[in-house]
């Protein structure tokens, strides 16, 4: 059974929700320290961002982290090394690589999938390769037994959800409403409805993410799905630190506050 499945099953058995932390590879450090800080603070799954020069779907905080990582010389090979270093010290926590298609195709999809597998990566989320587009990536991931995380948008029509889920494994990532209509109550109801819809179509877990800021928001959203992803809040904290040691302390404290909020909202 995959690490992701094992982790979600064990959470379900405890009636707990998954806490997923996102940081950008090569931001502040090329070692596994920040990933370990996330798990020490209570992260169940780690999403590791792969730096790209043009991260179209990211907000300014995460975009700046991509720029920092690129100036530090991190690209796909560095991401894989960092994931491998983490895997040597943590055999159980699932690692999802999240990034953009062009650097992966340049590396070679087949080579990327094979090397990711070897590094102990569990799944890949390619932001700008939505279900059905023509790229060798999906087949390459399947060939190596890597799981394919797919995004579902608030605007995604029901028929399209069905199509996306045929290309998805691991978990489905439901993007929360935000921007003009992003009142927190509305988000919770939208995620509740979307989760029910996805659960009717597939048995993979559903997590919510994009723009979840406070521990309180994370707790309320986690009540209506299987887990939440925290990104900008963590990446912003890393950006505000002078060195990797300080960032690790910050990340662990932050993750712990989300963990506490989520677990008290969902008593075991």
């Amino acid at each position: 059974m995959s690490r992701i499945r094992t982790r979600f099953d064990s959470l379900a058995a405890r009636r707990a929700r998954a806490l997923i932390g996102y940081i950008v590879a090569g931001d502040a450090t090329s070692g596994p320290g920040l990933m370990r800080a996330l798990t020490a603070g209570g992260a169940d799954v780690i999403e590791l961002g792969m730096p790209f020069s043009d991260p179209m779907a990211e907000g300014p905080i995460i975009q700046r982290a991509h720029e920092r990582a690129l100036s530090a010389g991190t690209s796909v090979p560095g991401v894989l090394e960092q994931a491998a270093a983490f895997r040597r010290v943590d055999e159980d926590t699932p690692v999802v690589l999240m990034g953009y298609l062009n650097p992966l195709e340049r590396y070679g999809c087949t080579a990327f999938a094979a090397d990711a597998r070897t590094a102990g990566v569990d799944a890949v989320l390619c932001v700008d390769c939505p279900a059905g587009e023509r790229s060798p990536l999906e087949r390459a991931l399947e060939a190596e037994g890597l799981e394919k995380i797919q995004l579902i948008a608030p605007t995604t029509a029901p028929g399209r959800c069905r199509e996306i889920l045929t290309h998805a494994s691991g978990f489905a990532y439901a993007i929360t409403l935000r921007g003009v209509t992003g009142a927190a109550d509305l988000e919770v109801e939208a995620v509740r409805a979307r989760t029910a819809e996805l659960k009717a179509l597939s048995d993979i877990p559903v997590v919510a993410g994009f723009g979840i800021k406070s521990p309180g928001d994370a707790a309320r959203l986690s009540e209506v799905c299987d887990g939440v992803v925290i990104g900008s809040a963590l990446v912003g904290a890393v950006g505000g630190c002078d060195n990797a040691e300080a960032a690790a302390v910050q990340l662990e404290m932050l993750m712990h506050s989300y963990r506490t909020a989520i677990d008290s909202g969902n008593p075991a």
């Binding site: 790209f52 020069s53 796909v76 390769c129 023509r134 995004l151």
Partner: protein, 398 residues
């Protein structure tokens, strides 16, 4: 309708691989809605009538075809004809597509326009079309470009648009495009995104090409009228490639007509400072489509350079990638110095200030015309006027 030999398939691909919709899932529904509205408007006579009326009375179409007799004689070879897109309202071909897209936006019930701009020409055209239809307008522009193109920033503001500076990445056109996409993800309910060139996710490459094809339809009829036959070569500059596809599209079926796209070689193709995506790039995915890109060995997008801000872009429309692969169009390049020389030649020889973008097409014509004879006809798309470039030219001319 004329047949469309280079139309994308139903999934938005030209040939097997170029084009597509390589965007985050958050934009898929918006692109579906745009595609449906575009297809419907395309077949609606009332929309076409409204567009044609705006093109005639507001944009100033048809634009003339002009025989550059003195310049042809100076070069001593082929007869050179210029399609005068520089005479359009706002000074370039950009307004053709902006006016059409603004009408489409209104038809879709959108009240807000966003656009990205490099040199500012597409921003000015978008702001103009938005003002004409009473729509709110926000233009994203790289902070470095804002510094380089202050006059156009002020023009957009006079037209009622808000210009938002983009500080991320290289703070140029590609970063402005990223930022406009981010805005659109959050605002799609009331916002229409006017992309300025034949790039981006499907249906934009098709839609912009369609709205620019008026250039080629007019030019084909005009050259038949003026010269009694089709040209031997049609020449246009290539940034994203919208003016080139606008004029090429009418001649694609005419196998005897050579189609030549001219990219910006900047300080030279071997200098590393150029914008020749087709000439020196490789296949990749950026801004929603698979095409030729300037990228490094890690697949990160490379910085570009051209004397002309409108050509300073690391990718190119997917249809050009396909036309090159098919061998239907050829792509060459001219460097900054050649473009500048052609700029001066047309100013002095014909009394026309060409845009530095268009000067790349002129420079290629100047290179080949002397080897041809007076029986040969070159048709050049003079895509914009050079008033905006006067400061740049002055600073570069000793």
């Amino acid at each position: 309708m004329r047949n469309e030999p280079s139309a994308p398939d139903s999934e938005g691909y030209f040939g097997e691989q170029f084009g597509g919709r390589f965007v985050a899932e958050t934009l898929i529904a918006a692109l579906d809605a745009l595609e449906a509205a575009f297809e419907q408007a395309r077949g609606d006579a009332a929309f076409q009538d409204e567009l044609n009326a705006q093109l005639a009375t507001y944009v100033g179409r048809p634009s003339p075809l002009y025989f550059a007799e003195r310049w042809s004689a100076q070069l001593g070879g082929a007869r050179i004809y210029l399609k005068r897109e520089d005479l359009n309202h706002t000074g370039a071909h950009k307004i053709n597509s902006c006016m059409a897209q603004a009408l489409l936006a209104r038809r879709m019930g959108k009240t807000r326009i966003i656009a990205e701009t490099g040199a500012g020409q597409h921003g000015v055209a978008s702001a103009t079309a938005a003002a004409r239809l009473g729509l709110e307008c926000v233009v994203y522009m790289g902070a470095r470009d804002i510094e380089r193109q202050k006059l156009n920033v002020y023009r957009m503001q006079l037209l009622g648009a808000e210009v938002r500076a983009v500080e991320s990445g290289s703070a140029t056109l590609k970063d402005a495009l990223n930022e406009a996409m981010r805005d659109w993800v959050a605002s799609v309910e009331n916002t229409y995104y006017i992309i300025g060139t034949v790039a981006g996710p499907h249906p934009y490459p098709l839609l912009v090409r369609e709205f620019q094809s008026v250039i080629g339809r007019e030019a084909r009829a005009q050259i038949l009228d003026a010269a009694g036959r089709l040209p031997d070569q049609v020449i246009a500059c290539i940034g994203g490639g919208s003016n080139a596809l606008g004029i090429f599209s009418a001649f694609i079926d005419d196998a005897e007509v050579a189609l030549i796209g001219v990219e910006a070689a900047g300080e030279g193709l071997d200098s590393g400072r150029h914008a020749a995506s087709l000439g020196r790039g490789s296949i990749g995915v950026l801004h929603g489509n698979r095409t030729y890109l300037l990228q490094d060995g890690d697949g990160q997008i490379s910085p570009t350079h051209s004397i002309s801000a409108g050509l300073d872009y690391p990718a190119v429309g997917p249809e050009h990638a396909w036309l090159m692969q098919q061998g239907r169009a050829q792509y060459v390049s001219c460097d900054d110095a050649e473009a500048l020389a052609a700029f001066h030649a047309l100013c002095a020889g014909e009394g026309i200030l060409p845009a530095l973008e268009s000067s790349h097409a002129l420079a290629h014509a100047a290179r080949i015309a002397p080897q041809l004879d007076a029986g040969d006809i070159l048709l050049i798309n003079l895509s914009g006027r050079g008033d905006k470039d006067v400061d740049t030219v002055r600073s570069l001319t000793p």
